[in-house]
Symmetry: C2
Subunit: 310 residues, 2 copies
């Protein structure tokens, strides 16, 4: 243990010297003293997807209550947070929240060493020191598979985010599992990579195949909007008569009659709320190990998918 008196004396020296230098008193300096900056780093991808814009808004608004702010790092996609974050440890942040992107093993290790917690919203991790808040990915996939099978569909497609994103993998797993257990082994997969253009191409690929699906589950509402656009405009399909489309997230635009999108909800506000609770428990030492939380959602049936044949 350091001798507090000596530490106190040195601290006074620092402050006095800083004052002599004419530095204006500021919270960054204060953070040196308190060892808390009240700054939470947020690494986020896909801000054009309204779900992630909601995460930014909610995190900023919910942190404001405790006078904390976000230092923002945007990453092009799931696997490219590291370059942007290379310097995050140089800033004295209290925690790192990630969403739509995830920590590499190296990043997780360096944060763990310094005792700075990482909480991922909407991405899995089993690295030490990385907590997660996720939706009901696998269960949701099963429920969507059941809904589409009950609607009398015969050929099933899936538009994935980037290949190794846990949300896409788990949602696909549940979807496939349900369909397989009901005798359907073939799910056609295309990669939308969470961008509008790539999702549109993925749907072109699915609908242009020799045996196009009559039901497509997209791993996000944002990609489902691309599916609806391509299906109606380029392939002249009627939704849901010719094709059912299901999304994920239930972003506000999904309920517009222009989209009328069946989806599985994943409330950003609640996920952020739980992430902040985790951050606080991990900073205060109330929890010492990584935590993994699931936020419940529900299937919301709208006009983009055929209803169960009764």
């Amino acid at each position: 243990m350091p001798d507090t008196n000596i530490a106190e004396k040195t601290r006074e020296k620092v402050l006095k010297a800083a004052k002599q230098l004419g530095y204006r008193p500021n919270l960054l300096a204060r953070s040196l003293r308190m060892n808390k900056s009240n700054i939470i780093a947020l690494a986020i991808s896909y801000l054009e997807n309204p779900f992630y814009a909601q995460v930014v808004k909610e995190l900023s608004e919910q942190l404001r209550a405790t006078d904390r702010h976000i230092l923002l790092f945007t990453a092009p996609d799931d696997n490219q947070a590291d370059p942007a974050l290379a310097k995050v440890l140089n800033y004295q942040v209290d925690a790192l929240v990630m969403s739509g992107t995830k920590a590499s093993r190296e990043l997780a290790i360096s944060f763990k060493k310094l005792g700075v917690p990482i909480v991922q919203i909407n991405r899995d991790s089993n690295y030490p020191g990385v907590s997660t808040v996720q939706g009901e990915d696998r269960d949701a996939g099963r429920i969507i598979g059941r809904h589409l099978l009950a609607g009398g569909h015969k050929r099933f497609g899936f538009v994935s985010g980037i290949a190794d994103s846990s949300t896409s993998l788990f949602r696909l797993e549940g979807y496939r599992e349900y369909l397989q257990s009901h005798g359907i082994d073939d799910v056609q997969i295309a990669y939308g990579n969470n961008t509008f253009e790539a999702a549109a191409n993925a749907v072109r690929q699915l609908l242009g195949s020799k045996t196009p699906p009559d039901a497509i589950f997209c791993a996000s509402d944002y990609m489902a909007f691309a599916a609806l656009e391509v299906a109606k405009k380029e392939f002249g399909l009627k939704v849901p008569d010719d094709l059912s489309v299901v999304g994920f997230n239930d972003v506000p635009a999904a309920s517009l009659s222009a989209h009328d999108l069946t989806t599985f909800s994943q409330p950003a506000a609640t996920m952020v709320e739980k992430a902040i609770v985790l951050v606080d428990q991990l900073i205060s030492g109330q929890k010492s190990r990584a935590q993994h939380l699931i936020v419940k959602g529900e299937l919301i049936v709208r006009g983009s998918s055929r209803q169960a044949v009764s």
Copy 2:
């Protein structure tokens, strides 16, 4: 002028003392020394409106090139940035960018005193030390008025953002001016306050009046989406046969066939680019006074408005 040798000596003392205290070297500490933090504060409102989500994304990505990051402050609306920003000066930010919200006179004065530049994207200001990057608000209003008059419309409505936001005021001014110069004195105005719900209510008010407009110009695409929803779903109107709707911004969703929205473009990427140039010129002293830039846009005619009768 301070004696550099003494300053240098004191600085060394600070650093040595800090080292003794076991502080990990960090950029926040470095910012004390260099008087530059490489952090730009961003105050922003209406993140649910994709235009502002684009501003965040663009600013973050474009600043990354020079290794700078955003300290994020979200404000509920145009006039409520101050409480959130009360503490921004306690952090040693190099500049403050604002979008969808604006500096009060008090805020402008305190930033000016400390020599920290403010650049507003999409909001006017004549306060000292506040630079602006704006779209072609007035001209766009005129062009939209001309487009709608040419389409044979008789009664004109306007859905405004909050009453004193410059974008809404200028767009309305141009719109009204053009219509007045062509003998139309009455523009029905309702306040959508830049939220979806308030915009929906504003449109209900306009369309529920005794002499409902057959053309509505909304001060943002986001509010125009609410107009399309209410007009079609609640009033059973055909767009554009019964009602033309025009937005502003040309956010990506405007071009979806589900919306097919006529709008006036305002490119977020270009506005952000110009804002960063201003920030750099003002920080470096290359410019010493507030600058005011206009970014050009164009009318993009789509299916939500009737074409000129020829």
